[in-house]
Symmetry: C2
Subunit: 392 residues, 2 copies
Amino acid sequence: MKATFNPPVRTLMGPGPSDVSPRVLSAMARPTIGHLDPEFIRMMDEIKEMLQLLFKTKSPLTMPVSAPGSAGMEACFVNLVEPGDKVVVCQNGVFGGRMKENVERFGGEAIMVQDDWGKPVDLDKVEKALADNDNVKALAFVHAETSTGVRSDAESLCALAQKYGCLSIVDAVTSLGGIDVDMDGWGIDAIYSGTQKCLSCPPGISPVAFGEKAIDAVKNRKTPVPSWFLDKNLVMGYWGGGGKRAYHHTAPVNSLYALHESLVMLHEEGMENAWQRHQLHHDALRAGLEAMGVNFLVDEECRLPQLNTVFVPEGVDEAEVRTRLLNEYSLEIGAGLGALAGKVWRIGLMGSACNRRNVMFCLSALENTLSSMNAPITRGVAALAAEAVYNA
Amino acid sequence: MKATFNPPVRTLMGPGPSDVSPRVLSAMARPTIGHLDPEFIRMMDEIKEMLQLLFKTKSPLTMPVSAPGSAGMEACFVNLVEPGDKVVVCQNGVFGGRMKENVERFGGEAIMVQDDWGKPVDLDKVEKALADNDNVKALAFVHAETSTGVRSDAESLCALAQKYGCLSIVDAVTSLGGIDVDMDGWGIDAIYSGTQKCLSCPPGISPVAFGEKAIDAVKNRKTPVPSWFLDKNLVMGYWGGGGKRAYHHTAPVNSLYALHESLVMLHEEGMENAWQRHQLHHDALRAGLEAMGVNFLVDEECRLPQLNTVFVPEGVDEAEVRTRLLNEYSLEIGAGLGALAGKVWRIGLMGSACNRRNVMFCLSALENTLSSMNAPITRGVAALAAEAVYNA
């Protein structure tokens, strides 16, 4: 017979999930009601309005997909890519590779634009790919690469998509809530995100929005969408607004309570204030890490404040450090992925986890652990350097 | 600015979601930990073991899909149906129709076996369809039709699939936890369920299991699975067991806490005891409703105890009754779907909602509401008839 599971209390400073606020956890535990209950539908309307504010869009097809970010990605590609469609896919980390998989599984042709991991997407290469290929249906890229901590220039990339008359599909999983995302201002056609990064909800829901051109593309498909669950033509009947909601699937009621509460909290704080908070604590963490002698992978001008990828000091077994942080401090930081595995750590400062306590705790735990392993770092200066940022 | 959402406290006696136990809600609100945390992986292993017990299977590919039941259905069809595959699909309600959509969207040919809504799947018709068609890849049917409350003979249907050498794909969304489901004993090859029916979890997760023949079919596909999120080849790396777990997508951590707790509760009670509880309260509800003069759609021998579909009394506006039950009693019962819309109600007795208090409350609220609308029912006898069952 199994017993009730009581999870340990962690500090989540990896690439997500991030620390969830007690307000959001408590919202999640409220009594379940029916997915067609008038009160639930009222709450869904509020989620939609708050997501529209967050994505900065007026699009009526703005909704939380009932599954994690990977399904949000799939919702975009399965609806917009038909057999034979060409899609320019920018890859500068793990998630561009997943986009390629998506395009190909739906019968499209992925034209890859490759950049080094840790570098932003190169605009010139993208323009060349768009200029060299006829009839490109879409340009797809990751705004904030969770595998490296790099920010690409979403505004300029979307301008290129418009210049060459194709749709833009944008991964905003790690950017939304942590830095500016401006769907209508930049002309993004389809965008998806996740709840477990800068929104600080438990994982499981993917906010998605389709603009007018993307909606037209779905309506004018020549072939049926090869998914019933994610077909936007069907989902529109439930989330699309305009009166009566048609039953599509049973919405994940309590997970949506959590998303609602996290959006209420974000709008209470103000989006601009949230971005500034992410920048401030990133600056403090960076000052501390650099004072210690731990260096960043990504150049300063395209560094994400919410995801700090730093090199493991020479000679240090990075997995041992993470294990000790978890066991001795109950602190989670992230490992490197792919080519960066073993070489970097990814330290998240996302949503509720982005605060002064976590910055000081992480610097102290990391310094103590590395010191005890005789790593080549400078001791006794990290906390002072971080505090100097807060006191500036 | 939006405010925190405080849902009303309902009694959920519709077709799902059902009332969620405070233990499960409280589990859901525990602190989020990482999806690759050793403690989380230990909990996942326990979920897998408990789901294997519940499905009565030893299959290593038993897992909770990170999305609602419709995605569980899609997980079965997208992995097992390739372009050109023939699938015999039994339709005796809404969900057989959704299976047909699934088969066709993945390029298969659906050979339909139609039965009236409210009747079980006819074994003779199925055998004829299997005998008349060569190279049928799979037989797909709904064990417990949520739209009508009918139970089909899953054991005999699976025996037919075996006799004709095809796979069986079984919808157990409403059956699992409420009546016997015996995957290995009946020879089910692929099965999916939902958390929000007799498991009494919030909606959002779909337990799925693939048997050996289904796993072979996935491994030997000629074409890639047209879904990245649901591809069992990839998901097996995370849930399939056998040592190291490869990152696929971020698991919905807190929703899985809830599922874990509901499975602990179910195994504490004992599966057979849970089925008997569903039968007992169904018998009491039925006695009360029939005494009132409210009759069942489905014949007694194939009636689901957990989903009671009854005819709306002559001349009664059924939507008004549901609205009054919701507003005056905070009690949710379900409407009819499709051809049964306006003609029936669906009264659920699922999981935690299946108890004596709910039976007596529902009979009383329904009797009062119908009486006040001058419906042709017999008054003053329902409660006595139900109590007689409990006192027998």
